[in-house]
Amino acid sequence: MFEKILIANRGEIAVRIIKTARRMGIATVAVHSDADAASLAVSMADEAVRIGPAAATLSYLDAEAVIAAAKATGAQAVHPGYGFLSERAAFAERLAAEGIVFIGPNPRAIEAMGDKIESKRFAAAAKVSTVPGSLDVISGTAHAVKVAEVIGYPVMMKASAGGGGKGMRIAWTRAEVEEGFTAAQAEARGAFGDDRVFIEKFVSEPRHIEIQVLGDRHGHVVHLNERECSIQRRHQKVIEEAPSPFVTPAMRAAMGAQAVALAKAVDYDSAGTVEFIVDADRRFYFLEMNTRLQVEHPVTELTTGLDLVEQMIRVAAGEPLSFGQEDVRLDGWAVESRIYAEDPYRGFLPSIGRLSRYAPPPEGTYDGVVVRNDTGVGEGDDISVHYDPMIAKLCTWAETRDAALDGMARALDGFRIEGPANNILFLSAVVDEARFRSGKISTAYIAETWPDGFHGLEPTAFQADAMTAAALAMQRLQGLRNGNGKAFRSDWVVSVGTIKRPLQVRVDGAALEIAIPGERRTLRLDGIDWRPGGALFRGVLDGKAFGASVAPAAEGFQIRMRAATARVLALSPRSSELHERLPPRKPKDRSNRLVSPMPGVIVALHVVPGQAVKAGETVAVIEAMKMQNMVRAERDGTAATVDVAVGDSVAADQVLATLA
């Protein structure tokens, strides 16, 4: 076994690998860019080596710098994690030439499977059914259009070296191919240093289900069941689970057998993933093989009891697999939620900034639910523009899918992040949503469930009651603290968003009895756990425990439960009457202002002052996190001002241009 390994990665996966290595008694070396000098991974590793400035191309993608670090520290092996150098055959070869072991598959397997065009040729030769598409690299926009017309729309343009949804674009029309192809190429170049793009038929209503395989250097290959990864936004996975609610035992065996056969055909000798597209009739098509550890590997670990990083290290060290296919378990159900720094209210655009508050729920086992949180950050760390905006991977495991999802919902409730925008609210919405709960999902789930974008949820009846009770309890405790709440009044009117109810409140020891005369029922709030200034309110309403995030608002409280957020006011009847006298204000029409949806750099401007602009026309292109985003005019008009220039850094909501 190795005595020291180097982790050629950053963030949560670096931390994840260090944890296993440490458990195995292997010393660890972290490499880091200037931006990560004080990261959690660096602080956990036994040694750390700086390999360059913040930009990934000059640090984590610099193979020679990584190799130099390995040689300097005497690391015997390198674990590449995912992304960066993990699927570069040349890197694996260079390591081999230096006598350093690559903790991953052999370079020939990477070459055969890592490149999406190569892998398709390979799969076709091996008679694996694949989705119709071009196996040729597309030379330019004209070629792209020609190929797309032959295959038929919709088509998908994919970066050859891509993965994880980066450099993928769907085009439904010829015009979208023409508009998007160059951008797809540019993204591919920026993200992978390789601008080869190919085109294939886009299968609508598909599920994305993948099989985890594991091989050793003695010819053994097993599969570790499937992962369901259909919950995606912008072609990037957000929630994954194992097993899939759609896969039958027979189908699992068939998919597994194909995956193993494919892996064996390339002498696959590490952990890898064979991705399939599955249609409504349970037909599955080989999509691609990822020759690395996947982001979502924890759900496989939680249901099989295996440590995939440990297995990768063992096989890389030459150990044969210690178990056979028949030993592979499938216990219970595991779910992973990817906590991203992104704004679900703005089409999931990435967000950046300092994590001024970061408090994940505690890991461990609670009432039969295992909570695991893989993260590479702590409070005070920056989510920077240089890297993927993932903050953490929150996983739960339980005996059943519903129990695992209930556990996930509770764990998300206990996750507190302030600073960058984040998707916790959105994840909460998915986890509780009826269609998702039923398991009838596809990769179009998010777009179909929230066709006009996600705008949060309205409180349910229970949530509205709980918010009402919480607001009254907080009002009382604040009054007591300020010394003027000795006699808590009995007549109240509480509004939760637009719902407004007159109430009769009675203090009963530490509990509140809240009568709702209009509905002829009474609520009882017990177990109040909150102190003035607290961000989390816990209570028991009519015997049901609940938690809510609370914050003071300009008037009253802002309360969140699950995916529902509401302004909650506890008012006296007189105050309530006065509130009703003010008509709600109409929001100002701001469609004349074109604003940046996210922080980034202006890479193109298609408008000058005085120019006529049509609704839907692209006015500016902003690049951030290697993604290009078009800013389009919301209505027809004439550009009155253009407030930025190409190359400018812009903040979210910054005005780029105004229309007259």
């Binding site: 004080a38 300092r354 200034g533 300009a554 006065l578």
Partner: protein, 510 residues
Amino acid sequence: MQKILEELEKRRARARLGGGEKRIAAQHAKGKLTARERIDLLLDEGSFEEFDIFVEHRAHDFGMADQRIPGDGVVTGWGTIGGRTVFVFSKDFTVFGGSLSGAHAQKIVKVQRQAMKVGAPLIGLFDAGGARIQEGVESLAGYADIFLENTLASGVIPQISVIMGPCAGGDVYSPAITDFIFMVRDTSYMYVTGPDVVKAVTGETVTHEDLGGASIHCVKSGVADGAFDNDLEALSQVRRLIEFLPASNREKAPARKSFDEPDREEPSLDTLVPLDNDRPYDIKELILKVVDEADFFEISAEYAKNIVCGFGRMDGETAGFVANQPMALAGVLDMDASRKAARFVRFCDAFNIPIVTFVDVPGFMPGTRQEYGGLIKHGAKLLYAYAEATVPKVTLITRKAYGGAYDVMSSKHLRGDINYAWPTAEIAVMGAKGAVEIIFRADAADPEKLKAREAEYRDRFANPFVAASLGYIDDVILPHETRRRIARALKSLKSKELTNPWKKHGNIPL
């Protein structure tokens, strides 16, 4: 007797109706509450006691003899906020457009004097058209009487003005003298002369909003100290502000039980200051992590953002916070920031509120705009305010404290009581690059040499130790222990006694 009681109730009901139901409906349609409704929301329920409900104007000219409405366009009296007495007047736009007559002015003067006698805050709610032109000079005299009382009360009781509708001409100067002005967005504006006069005199066409809305006074002119979305939020936030303030300069700021441990540690503050010393960071994160329960009432949040001022509590007791904001103009001191902070420091000093200052300042803003605008005198205001302040002063230098700005920002030399620095503090006459270019002018042609000199200068001064060795810094503290250290420092200063030499008043460089 019964008849008199009936008559009394009839008269009261008549007075409460103000300008009548039609005008009240119009007021609501504009998104505004009436004068009495506002008072109901501002004060604890049932606590309002009205003065002078039956007062009417005394004018006879221009048909005014036939138009009399009891109360005469302003509702005055007193009540409580959180159980503490406050005095209030609220202009009634439904009665003669809230315009000011001699009788109307006398009502206001009465509550002003009462507030002074008692030593309780005075809150004015403005929504009025200006002078009652029909009354001529009597109206002007009334204004002056109010201004005089405002001036005499300044520094004795907190005075707060909320602009909730028009506030023009003579009406603007009473708020202008008070301690804080708040505005309601979109429905309030204040200016000396309105758009019509502006058009006639200068030919300039401008809207009410662009001349004197909240978007002007809370952002550009700095005349007002905060804007709220509607009457409800404005009144709710004024209640919140009152809870931070003492009733008068004879009292200490109110203390309340804190549920926030005074020795709470904040490990993330250790990484607040970026490694690259030109990179900005948000000083408000420090304030929010230091104060009790992250409860901070910011003053003038949208104006001169390069300095942050506001009230928080440390272990239950109010403190004023002044902090350079690296996120805006690198936290530089310019005319606006100097004026904003100077006024805030003087308010705290007048009302026995300790001042906590967080320093990260690269210096004063250079440029002709600043110099022509009188930066020297504006900067001197802040210098003067800190120098004369006798309340407890605790200072923390987080990063840059360069040049004259170091002196100004509550330095030891201006009687700072306890001056701390984080290890990242750099106390120097200027940044290393600029300093080296002057000291080693001879080496200007040799960038290599200059670079070495720069590193030398940085090694010498880019740390808190030189200042600490001279005693200008009392201790170098770790960021994560900032709350505990400041809370302890303030506690140790509770019994501080310091008086300035007797004078009629100083002559602050206005």
